[in-house]
Assembly symmetry: C2
Homo-oligomer: 247 residues x 2
DNA sequence: AGGCGCCAAAATGTATCCAATTTTTCAAGA
DNA sequence: TCTTGAAAAATTGGATACATTTTGGCGCCT
């Protein structure tokens, strides 16, 4: 209730989601309702609503009368979710091309690609530029998904982001060549969509996402701690659009 | 709490899910918490937990301070979810083939296909045989998904079933030729998996699901009421495996 | 010493109560 | 007659209190 257009339970859900994705609540850890409620400064009722939501989202495991535990995702699971994201986003390309992208969408993609070019123009990866890059990347992917005009597809891709690490907001920002190649994919996807080559766009997108997954998995396997720390540091919060209070 | 291994809230969630998928609660309709709680014979607290769950599952829309409404799915949305199911199950075929199906899995698929042959042997569609057919169909699809050994993929496909009509339990049981052709797909998919032809199995599966979607959408467009009634009558409840009470 | 069982403590699940917001009703004014 | 406003009713959201289940510990028996 309180002030804005969302309830305490909603707020708790987003807070908890961030805590989990950021690793503040460790996988496998039991969730003490009393403790957590006090920590967040609310009663158990809205907290439990939030917990039920997150469990349905797949971030928590639930067992009747034994409460919630933070779900632990194996590296293998993370890998597999990238596979799912890959086929879903590829399908988005197919559908978008089939429907035909509006000039507005194509122009938006071109603009995003151009803004990426600008960031890469220096030939190095400036850490300060990461947030801007992330915005560009998220926007690019979301624009295509929106262009598929398939609301459920968007929802499913969004659920994909509920798995730690599997998000277009998570970027390994340390290898210029890889980022450059990744952005080259963006170029080609935008071009393919402009010429209505859906299958081609889909193929590039599929590889685009799959490779990002492979890369991340490799890093996690080699040096889990380091990769995790870097990712948590760079993940940041997403695109929050809370309705403004109206009073 | 009560007796079995699940809570009142869990029970309410499954009950409500069935009510919504069966059309007992009409799309767009507001959910009165007091009424519904009394109807189900429980207090608002577990009901609200169930509502939060269903909202996260995408069966209800929620607006802060204004409660829940039954989500309405346009025919177009249903169509689009079949597209999603199609790519996901196709991907399951690819992965299963890549991993290599165990002989147990292949034998199971063969057995299921054979049981389908038996049902179709008469050359007509006996309404009495529908439940058995449905079990066969559900098992076939689930076996392949399990063979992909990708738990998240299974979860995502399961979420697909949260959309009314989009389920391998929903079967249009009135056209022998179509059912026969559909089962021929099963034959070919099983054979392709046995020979580790993942791409081939995926292609068949993709068309298998897509066509079912097209067919359903066509029926819904032509005569929504009739199709709906037939489907509700034939849908039945799924594969419930509640843990037995241990006391 | 180790295992078993019972009792107490803690944690979860549900019901009830209260607060805050939304919706409806009803009337007054233009 | 239609609109606008405010107050009452209805409904949702949150906090507290209670019941049930699980869990941990202690003593007893083998």
């Amino acid at each position: 209730m309180i002030v804005n257009g969302q309830t305490v339970a909603d707020g708790a859900a987003t807070t908890l989601r961030e805590m989990i994705l950021a690793g503040q609540l460790r996988p496998g850890e039991r969730v003490h309702q009393d403790q957590l409620a006090e920590l967040l400064g609310l009663s158990r009722t809205p907290l439990r609503t939030a917990l039920a939501t997150l469990a349905t989202d797949g971030l928590l495991d639930y067992e009747a009368n034994r409460g919630y535990r933070v779900r632990s995702f194996s590296v293998d699971t993370i890998r597999s979710v990238f596979e799912i994201r890959s086929v879903l986003e590829a399908q988005a390309c197919r559908i978008a091309a089939r429907l035909g992208c509006s000039e507005a969408v194509l122009a938006r993609l071109d603009a995003l690609v151009a803004s990426g070019d600008e960031i890469l123009a220096s030939g190095t990866l400036d850490p300060a530029a990461l947030p801007q890059w992330r915005r560009m990347n998220v926007e690019f992917h979301e624009t295509i998904i929106r262009a598929a005009n398939n609301p459920l597809l968007g929802e499913f891709v969004a659920r994909t982001h509920n798995v730690p690490m599997v998000s277009d907001r998570v970027i390994l920002w340390d290898d210029y060549d890889i980022i450059h190649r990744s952005h080259d994919d963006h170029h080609r996807i935008a071009r393919a969509l402009r010429s209505s080559e859906g299958e081609r766009a889909a193929a590039i997108m599929s590889e685009h996402v799959s490779f990002a997954g492979d890369l991340l998995v490799e890093r996690l396997r080699n040096d889990p701690e380091a990769a995790l720390q870097q990712l948590i540091a760079t993940a940041g919060s997403g695109s929050k659009k809370p309705k403004k209070a109206e009073k």
